[in-house]
């Protein structure tokens, strides 16, 4: 279905964006600091960068091949582009915006109907609303809907959650995930937020000043990225998915898998059924098991499966990342501790440990 072959060189002001990427994954992420060339790359894929050279093949179609002087104009590529500045048409209402790309006859990457899009994105009440009267989150959804209604072969989403506050992110994120499940359109996400990236993409590419720093499965690449000097300050956030099995006064009891439940603060959410929980590696303790009188309410038993230190840094205060496997399904959690603590507990691969973290350290990233 997907199949992306991207061999591009795009000149920008101070450097070239130079990317080689061949993949069959349907959901891809481009991660990097601002100014790394992420948007440039996305625009080149959309056909909005006339300076782009190289070869670009999407789902078996060649969109760009400089060696043969082939460069499809944007209108013949069939992308659903959601730019960071959203760019809804101010002279059209919601319906007009959603349908503005629907006339596209060819290329059609599958059937997407207006009603279905309105339903999935919960936009029915806004059908005839003028754009100026929508909130930020609603505009974001309309832009996503407009892209979907144009029956794209490939969705391009530039920082779809940037500029939204946490409660709004929690509302939009499920739409993005749902869209991938419902419409099965291959998508490329751009983000400078590692956690977001991991939630939205299966495979990712890290861009730094136009160069590819790493690429591969999202969970692995984001772990490696956190160890890279350029992204060290971002740390690492664990992403846990689970079902709400009980609503307590103290919070929500979330079952990650059978026998593994954690307590998370409910926040302002009205009775969610499924949640995605974020937990920072720095907020996670490792214990060998003989503790009493701790205030932390969450603990998971597991086995150390990987210990990593920041690759090039030998200073004593740089953190050590300990990856611990828990439960029966191979799930892992990362705890970030000091090398001294690591030595004191004589942690090594295969050692049984307990992961301890406060309920308050958990934040709900998305709820359904």
């Amino acid at each position: 279905m997907s199949g992306l072959s991207l061999h591009l060189k795009i000149p920008v002001k101070h450097f070239n964006v130079d990317v080689l990427w061949d993949t069959d994954e349907p959901s891809l992420g481009i991660f990097g600091h601002s100014g790394a060339g992420k948007t440039t790359l996305l625009e080149a894929i959309a056909g909005l960068r006339p300076g782009a050279r190289g070869r670009l093949r999407v789902a078996g179609e060649t969109w760009l091949d400089s060696s043969q002087d082939l460069n499809l104009p944007p209108e013949r590529r069939g992308v659903g582009y959601v730019p960071q500045d959203i760019l809804l048409f101010p002279h059209l209402d919601v319906r007009g915006n959603l349908l503005s790309g629907a006339h596209r006859k060819e290329p059609a990457g599958g059937k997407v109907h207006l009603e279905r899009v309105l339903e999935v994105l919960e936009l029915q009440p806004y059908r005839t609303a003028p754009i100026a009267r929508l909130s930020g989150g609603e505009k974001q959804r309309v832009a996503l809907g407009r892209a979907l209604c144009s029956k794209p072969k490939l969705l391009l989403l530039d920082e779809p959650l940037a500029g939204l506050d946490l409660p709004l992110r929690r509302r939009i994120l499920p739409y993005l995930i749902r869209v991938q499940e419902e419409f099965s359109v291959p998508a490329i996400f751009v983000s400078h937020d590692a956690t977001e990236m991991r939630l939205l993409s299966r495979e990712m590419l890290i861009l730094e000043r136009g160069k590819v720093l790493a690429k591969g499965p999202a969970s692995q690449v984001s772990f490696e990225a956190g160890l890279h000097p350029a992204f060290r300050d971002q740390g690492f956030e664990n992403v846990l998915r689970g079902k709400v099995i009980q609503e307590k006064e103290s919070g929500l009891l979330v079952e990650l898998e059978e026998g593994c439940s954690i307590l998370v603060p409910r926040g302002d959410l009205p009775g969610p059924a499924e949640v995605i929980v974020g937990l920072r590696a720095e907020d996670t303790l490792i214990s060998l098991g003989f503790h009493a009188g701790l205030s932390a309410q969450n603990s998971l038993r597991g086995t150390v499966c990987e210990i990593r230190r920041l690759s090039d840094d030998q200073t004593t205060d740089s953190p050590t990342w300990v990856k611990v496997a828990y439960g029966h399904q191979g799930s892992t959690l990362v705890a970030s501790i000091t090398p001294q603590a690591c030595d004191r507990l004589s942690l090594a691969e295969g050692k049984d440990v307990e992961l301890i973290f406060k309920a308050q350290s958990c934040r709900i990233l998305a709820a359904n």
Binding site: A46, G47, L48, P73, P74, E75, R76, R77, G78, V79, G80, Y81, P83, D85, L87, F89, P90, H91, S100, G101, H103, R104, A132, R146, S150
Partner: protein, 222 residues
């Protein structure tokens, strides 16, 4: 007012309306070109388009007269047929449309510059070709400014005197517009008649400018 004044008003409106229709397509095209494209010689072409703004209208009128004269490059002798523009209302239309061209081009240019080019790029990614983007995105977004440019062009044509009098003459009932009639009345000492005509033209000009002002202002708010 005597019937002659009404006839002059009719000719004025006819000439100004026809001149607006004539000047809008090239004016809008030039405005778009200047707003959206860069090409060698652009500044020269721009200066030529704005020239009627500073050139004495009589000079432009004389140029037109020389072009259209029987032995001129566009005269009956050179073309083999007569364009029949000199000393007709069509000649007045040509003269006043040329005089209002700079205003139309300038206002249209500003209107197009007010349209975010990224919205046009967005239209392209949604499957619209360049022409469809122009019809569906650029034109609707520049609409107010373009209407304003038409009204300004109309007002300018309404008041045209210098070029018109040379190309079309001052023939009552045929080419005599309000502006020419005022001149005529002053020449022959019909001050009361002249005052009435001045009032009429002032009213027309005020109305037109007011509407175009309203249109451009509301655009700024949106």
């Amino acid at each position: 007012m005597n019937p002659a004044a009404w006839i002059a008003l009719g000719i004025s409106l006819k000439v100004a309306a026809a001149a607006t229709l004539l000047v809008l397509p090239p004016g809008i095209a030039l405005g778009w070109l200047f707003a959206r494209r860069s090409f060698p010689g652009k500044s020269v072409l721009e200066t030529i388009a704005y020239l009627p703004l500073v050139l004495p209208p009589t000079a432009l009128g004389y140029l037109l007269l020389s072009l259209l004269a029987v032995r001129g490059p566009l005269g009956a002798a050179s073309l083999g047929f007569d364009l029949d523009l000199l000393f007709t209302w069509k000649g007045a239309v040509l003269a006043s449309s040329l005089m209002s061209l700079p205003l139309v081009v300038r206002t249209a240019r500003v209107a197009f510059e007010g349209v975010n080019p990224r919205l046009e790029a967005m239209g392209r990614t949604l499957g619209m070709g360049p022409l469809r983007v122009f019809r569906k995105v650029t034109l609707p977004l520049a609409r107010r400014g373009l209407v304003a440019s038409g009204i300004l062009g109309f007002s300018r044509a309404l008041g045209e005197f210098g070029a018109t009098v040379i190309v079309a003459g001052n023939i009552p009932g045929k080419t005599q517009t309000l502006a020419l009639a005022i001149f005529n009345d002053i020449q022959i000492g019909e001050d009361r008649q002249a005052r009435a005509l001045v009032g009429l033209t002032a009213l027309l000009a005020f109305g037109a400018l007011w509407i175009s002002e309203l249109l451009t202002r509301r655009k700024g708010h949106a």
